[in-house]
Amino acid sequence: MNNPPAVRALVAAHGDLAAGLASAVDRITGRGSMLGILTNAGLGADQMEATLRERIEGDGIRAIFTDLPSGSWTMAARRAMRGHEDVVLVTGVNLAALLEFVMRDDLEPAAGARACVDRARAAIGAIGGGPRAA
C-alpha cells in the first residue's frame, strides 16, 4: 500500500472550513493529505503565528493558503513569513485553487501555490439571476 502524500501546504481558515476543503480535495483527487489543516478556533494571534512559524521553520512548509485577506490567519501568516522570503501566502482560497495545487505536484510547493491563483479566480462566476444591476 502506498503511503499518503506528505503535506505540501497548509490551509488555515475560519471554523471548519480548512477541514471541509481538504475533505473535498480528498474525495475528488485522493490527495487531501497533501494539505495540512488549521482552524483558528480558540487560538489567539500569538498562538496562530507560533503555529505557522513552527510549521515553516520545523517542517519546511513553503505554501500557505488562507481564507479572508483580512482574517486573523492571514495576519498571522504575514508575521510568520517575515525572514522567509521563499514562503508563498495565497489568500481567498477556494476548492478550485486547492485542486490545482495538489495536481501540480510537478512544481515546488511555493511555485504550485502561485500557479493556482488564476484557476481560483476563474472558478468564481455568477450565472442567471436576470440582468446585472447597474
Partner: protein
C-alpha cells in the same frame, strides 16, 4: 456619533471585526490602541491591509487615544475602538471616564488564564481588573459577533455564559 464599540480582542483587526461588526455597523473608522503597533510602521501597514479602503484606521498608543477620545466621539461615522488586552483597556478607561462600555470580543488562551467562554480566557489579575472596571460603573459584557447575546461579566466569571 460616539464610538459604537470598545472591544478587547487579541486578534485586533480580523474577520469578526471588519466583516462581522463592520459591515453591520457601516463602519467608518477603527481606532487601534496598542503601544507596540503604534510604534511599528510594519505592523501598522499589516493591519491597514486588512481593512477595506473606505474604513479609516487610526493607530494610537493608550495615552494618545486618551488624548484624542473627544475628537473620535465627534466623528459622525460609526467607529470601533480596539485594544489587544485587558491591561490596555483598563489604562485607557482610567484616562477617559467617558468610556462606559467594554466588549470582551476575544481573549484567548495563555499560561495562567482560565477559560470562561469559548473565546474568553482570563487570568486572576485580568478578572480583578475587569471587576474593578465594573465597580467604576463601566458595563463589561462578552460578545464575539453582533448576532450573539451580550453576556454580563458576572455570568462570564461564574461560568454561566454559554
Amino acid at each position: 456619533m460616539p464610538l459604537e464599540l470598545c472591544r478587547i480582542d487579541d486578534r485586533l483587526i480580523h474577520g469578526q471585526v471588519v466583516l462581522g461588526w463592520g459591515q453591520q455597523m457601516r463602519l467608518g473608522y477603527i481606532v487601534l490602541v496598542d503601544d507596540e503597533v503604534a510604534e511599528s510602521e510594519w505592523e501598522r501597514e499589516l493591519y491597514r491591509m486588512g481593512v477595506p479602503p473606505e474604513v479609516d484606521v487610526i493607530f494610537e498608543t493608550v495615552k494618545g487615544a486618551a488624548t484624542r477620545l473627544a475628537e473620535f466621539e465627534r466623528d459622525p461615522r460609526p467607529g470601533i475602538l480596539l485594544t489587544g488586552d485587558v491591561e490596555s483597556m483598563v489604562r485607557l478607561v482610567g484616562m477617559c471616564t467617558a468610556l462606559r462600555e467594554v466588549n470582551l470580543g476575544g481573549i484567548h488562551h495563555k499560561n495562567g488564564r482560565v477559560q470562561r467562554l469559548r473565546y474568553v480566557f482570563l487570568s486572576p489579575e485580568e478578572e480583578r481588573a475587569l471587576r474593578a472596571l465594573e465597580a467604576q460603573g463601566v458595563a463589561v459584557t462578552a460578545r464575539d459577533v453582533p448576532g450573539a447575546r451580550p453576556i454580563p461579566l458576572s455570568d462570564v466569571l461564574a461560568g454561566k455564559g454559554e
